[in-house]
Every structure is written in C-alpha cells, then in structure tokens.
Amino acid sequence: MAAFVEFLPYIFSGVVWTIGLVAGGIGIGFVIGLFMAIGQIYGGGEIKAIIHAYVWFFRSMPLLVLLFLFYWGVFPAIGYKLDPLACSIIVLGLRSGAYQSQIFRGAMLSLGDTQLLAARALGMSELRGIFHIVLPQALRISLPGWSNEYATMIKDSAITFTLGVLEILTRTRYVVMATHEPLIPYFFAGGLFVVLTYAGSKIVNTVYERTKTPGLVGRL
C-alpha cells in the first residue's frame, strides 16, 4: 500500500494526457462531424453515400482494431511515422467524427426546414443560412449528445494503453507491474475516470442550462 502511494503522482500526471486525448479527439471529431452532418443533409447523392460509408466504417469497427490498423498499417503505408499519442488522437477524432455527425444530423433534422426557409426568405444564401441560423440552434440541441460523447471518449481514451500512450491506464499498469498490487491502483484509476466524467458532464450541463432559450427545448 505504501509503495502505491509513492506512485500516486505518477498515475495522476496521466490525467493531462487523458485530457489531451479527449480534447484532441472531440475537437477533431467536432469539425469532421459538423461537415459530415451538413453534407448528409444538404449534399448530393454521392456525398451522402461516402459519408454513409465513413460512418458505417468507424462505428462498426472496434476502437482497438482501428487503433492498430492505423498505427501499424495505414500511417506507415502512407509514409507517416506517427507517435502513439498523435495517432491515437487522430483515430479517436476520426471515430468521434462519425458519432458526432449523427448527433448534429439529428439535431438539425429536428429543427426542420422552417428555420432555413425563413433565413433564405430574408435573402441569405443557403450556406449563410445554415451557418448563422440553423447551426447555433442545432449545436445547443446537440449538447446532451455531446455530454454522452465526452463520457464515452474519456473511457475510450484508456484503450490507447495498447499503443503505449502515457495516459492514466498505461501508468497504472506500470505501477501494478512494479508493486504487484493490482487492486488499489486499478480502483484508483477507475475513480479518476469517474471524476473526470462527472466533472466534464457537469460543465456541459451548466452550458446547457445557461444557454437555455425558452421554447427551443420543446422539440426534443
């Protein structure tokens, strides 16, 4: 037990890496997801098909498989020697993009045509209408889905231990190997993840409450 306490700071410093993974993954996923959602709703047949295939691919493969596929296979094949952290962030981001695109798509669809029609009636181009009128509302409706995505991502980040990324779980494993005491370290790690999840959800909830516009929630 005493041995483990020494290693607490070491495990704890993994939190920074975990947050980095999550921030990077959700950030990349956000951009990808947003464009794919717009493409899926407003795009033509081929665009829709490509997006459909992308979403299917990244949602039907286990994260583990995707990590190894890209780290050992895809990136070397196209000539990039990526370190585990960067590769993990990219894969998490590509995958999150697939999930987030469905969140945004659902949110935008729930708004219906009327918002965009009104915008265009005022003389905005389709693109302007989407960005200035539809998106802000859709983004807010998406907040609960995001909260979910964040919670999932926090836990998925732990899987990057398989590539050796120095996040919470990887460090915990090293500690376990050194101290031969698995119980407390793993519970501690689990607890860290719970706290991170809770803190993040709380933040998203606060944003949700603060940005509440009367009447908008009705559609959910």
Binding site: S60, L69, G73, V176, Y186, F187, G190, F193, V194
Partner: protein, 220 residues
C-alpha cells in the same frame, strides 16, 4: 503469400466462435442484471435503490478494460479466481448490465401512471403489476437502447484479448507480430466484428417488429 491466408483465416474464424460465445453468454445475463437493477432503482426502498445506483455508477464510470483488469488481476489476490473467459463474461455482464439498466429505468418511468392505477384498482399486488403490466411495456420501449448496447458489447469484446481470451483481436495481434501484414490482418478482423454486429442489428430489428404492439409507441 497464400500460405498466410491458409493459416490466418482458420485461426481467426475459430476465434470468431469464441467471440460469439462470449457475447451469447454475456448478453442474457447482462439483460437480466439490467432489469434487476432498473426495477431496484425504481421500486426498491432506499438501501436497495442506493446499492443499485452505486453499482450502475461504478460500472458505467470505470472504463470496461479497468473492470476486466480488476476481475482478472486483482480478485485472485483476494482468493477469487476466474478463468480468462469467465472473467470476461463477468466483466461484460456488469458493464453492459449497468448501461442497459439506464434504458430500463427510463422506460419504466415512461409508462403512464394510469397503467399502474388500473392494475391496482383491479386488485393486483405490486409485483403482479410490475411483472404483468409495467415491464412488458417498458421492455418493449427499452429494446432499441438495449440492442444498441449489445452492439457495443460485440465491439468492446475485443478488450478481452488483454486478459487472455483467444478471441478475434487477440489472434489478429499475434498474427501481426509474426507475419506483419497489418492492413490485411486488422481489416479482416474489423470486418468480422462488423459482420457479427450487422447480423445482430438485423436480428434486433426483426425482434422489434415482431414485438410491436399497434399504437404502443403512440400511447406513450
């Protein structure tokens, strides 16, 4: 060149059987646990409900891999030994049961209170009311969420390879370290997972259609 596929494919298909076994065993027990937890949280008295909520909180909050590590590596220190396969089953049952119980709980609460009143007015006891009136409606409503979780289970079963289960990803990983053909190997592995998931998805759609009661969705 061809010799690779001759050795790889049989091994990976054999491993697919293990993956399917893992899922087939974990799912029914997980669903049962989800129903127990959901009912406990809605109808249980304070201590029961508190215990159920804590269980759900822990196993939704810990990354699944951490749960697996605790069961497989930490429990033996306390004298509890499970084989790789059964450790994985126990871990997945707890995790999927916890996630699914949220759907069960939500759908129980969404059943109209009038149903409850009518059951009581006819002289049904609480347990009769829950078993014959509430749960049949709640579980139908929870089915989409539950089947979603089961699809996730199929994909996350890949984690079991890290506690010694000879399933699809584990075999892919060992083959890759010997043959080093990452793209073919991991793509194949991924596609097998995708295939299993797709079959299950179709199966659930059929089940949902069979169980559909005319107008039950509208009645909620």
């Amino acid at each position: 060149m061809i010799a690779f596929w001759d050795t790889f494919l049989p091994r990976i298909f054999a491993a697919s059987v293990i993956t399917i076994e893992l899922v087939v065993v974990s799912v029914p027990i997980g669903v049962a646990l989800a129903i127990i937890l959901g009912v406990a949280r809605v109808y249980g008295n304070r201590p029961v409900s508190l215990v159920a909520t804590s269980i759900v909180g822990i196993f939704r909050g810990f990354p699944a891999i951490v749960t697996l590590f605790i069961i497989f590596f930490a429990l033996p220190d306390m004298g509890v030994y499970f084989s790789s396969f059964w450790s994985a089953v126990l871990g997945f049952v707890l995790v999927t049961g916890a996630y699914q119980s949220e759907y069960v709980r939500g759908s129980i609460q969404s059943v109209q209170t009038g149903q409850s009143l009518a059951a009581q007015a006819l002289g049904m006891s609480k347990s009769q009311e829950v078993v014959h009136i509430i749960l049949p409606q709640a579980l139908r409503a929870a089915l989409p969420g539950i089947s979603n979780e089961i699809i996730y289970l199929i994909l996350y079963s890949s984690l079991a390879s890290y506690i010694g289960v000879e399933e699809i990803f584990g075999v892919a990983r060992s083959f890759n370290s010997l043959a080093f053909r990452p793209i073919e190997i991991f793509l194949t592995a991924g596609l097998i997972y995708a295939a299993i998931a797709t079959v299950c998805f179709a199966g659930f759609r059929m089940l949902e259609r069979k169980l559909r009661i005319p107008g039950l969705e509208a009645a909620r």
